[in-house]
Subunit: 268 residues, 2 copies
């Protein structure tokens, strides 16, 4: 069993509730990697017998750092239309809400299609780039093979401000795993905090809210398989303790699999 | 009373529930303008006695077109930390969930700040531009004064595809109203559907999910007052019935008040 599948495994309790647990393999500095939290919430809807269609939108709000150990997810399809379905989810530890989420699922039909944002062209292939140095990194970073074209974790935190926080990175699960909606949701949270890139200074940070729009369907994910995806991210604004970023995840064929944004808090 | 305040007015029922109603002033083609739906959901948290701090993130999922008439909002602060608060909200008509939402509020503190995305420079002032033509437009468009620098509603829908869907627009409430968090939430939904701009073809559309990050605090909103804000929006991807857009709302002083994104469905 791939460690990612262990991280998102859920055992049903009743029609709405299921039980999961954090795993050391995806531990972060405090609590688990937020990408696996997003993925396990989406997985609660994906695995539900009432599920209709595929994910279109997922928003996860991180209400507190998860404690290591067991949690429960409450997943309710509050509205099911002919081709769309609306989910409300909560992740609980004891009586405390640790995360809230909503998701929209839909059955897609073929229509006119076009990409307005285009993938960066002429990038070095992943195998020509060194793998990100994992020294002193928390366990979850070891669960990804990251090859940075630009904007990796700064090698020195000397407080010299950098003019932008643009990142381009080839990334895949480590060991390789065929991509699916849950792992794509997690991949959207693998961008290092933009505030580290801008400030070259380590300050307390944490994701407050993460929203991902899924543009991939099952066929696009199948074509991608376990190849690296191309991730791109940059900051928008950093202001009085909160900053946001926008990102894209492209397939090996340069199709947009997902667009993603998040707001983080930071101190100082 | 400004028509916007009528549109977001809520009468408390109990600790969690309040009652509101759609207003003809903000009617759209079918049901009310989605911006007022977002605003009234945010307002349910803003006006709640348990509210802590100001909005940081708001996600609204539109589960169905609202029927004209009364609705109820269920608003629950499911987690309150020292400086942050997490809300789960639903808008109901009868026994049906018409919209779900989550919001994160926080008490901000002064920190290092920087803007990475910058406002477009050298734009014509709003008073030098013609007001958007309101002929054949639904009532809600009449509630805004829109002056397009580029990317207004196409004058001809002849099916000639346009290479991009970039919009820049000066916009304010009509009649003028001092901006607040609720009206800013609504302003973030005033961009016309990107698919109309790209395709120059009218097809059925509707917002599925809208997420806004608030970068303004009370002082920035007070400085803005009732002046026009500068809105910017563009499409990301249009694919098999769903497309997303990203937008920014800038103050008259070119500070980012909010960043916003949404995913819409479209037919054909």
């Amino acid at each position: 069993m791939h460690p990612f599948d262990t991280a998102i495994a859920l055992a049903p309790i009743d029609a709405h509730r299921s039980r999961g647990a954090t795993t050391p393999a995806y531990a972060n500095m405090v609590g688990p990697f937020g990408g696996t939290t997003a993925a396990v919430l989406l997985h609660a809807a994906l695995r539900h017998p009432a599920r209709l269609g595929d994910p279109i939108a997922l928003t996860v709000n991180y209400a507190s750092a998860l404690a290591d150990g067991a949690f429960e997810i409450d997943a309710r399809a509050v509205r099911t239309n002919r081709s769309t379905q609306h989910w409300v989810l909560q992740l609980l530890q004891g009586d405390e809400v640790a995360a809230t989420a909503t998701a929209v699922f839909a059955v897609r039909r073929a229509t006119w299609s076009a990409s307005e944002v285009v993938a960066p062209a002429e990038l070095p292939a992943p195998q020509t780039l060194p793998r990100e140095d994992l020294t002193h990194r928390p366990p979850w970073v070891h669960r990804y093979d990251m090859r940075f074209v630009e904007g990796g974790m700064p090698s020195r935190f000397d407080g010299t401000e950098h003019p932008h926080s643009q990142t381009r990175v080839w990334v895949r699960d480590e060991p390789p795993r065929a991509i699916d909606f849950a792992s794509l949701a997690a991949l959207c949270d693998t961008f290092f905090p933009r505030v580290y890139l801008r400030r070259r200074k380590v300050v307390p940070i944490g994701t407050v809210s993460l929203t991902t729009y899924f543009h991939a369907d099952a066929a696009m994910l199948a074509a991608q398989g376990d190849q690296p995806v191309l991730g791109s991210a940059r900051g928008v604004v950093f202001r009085n303790g909160y900053c946001d970023q926008r990102g894209e995840v492209w397939s090996a064929q340069r199709e947009l699999l997902a667009s993603t944004q998040q707001v983080m808090y930071y101190r100082e």
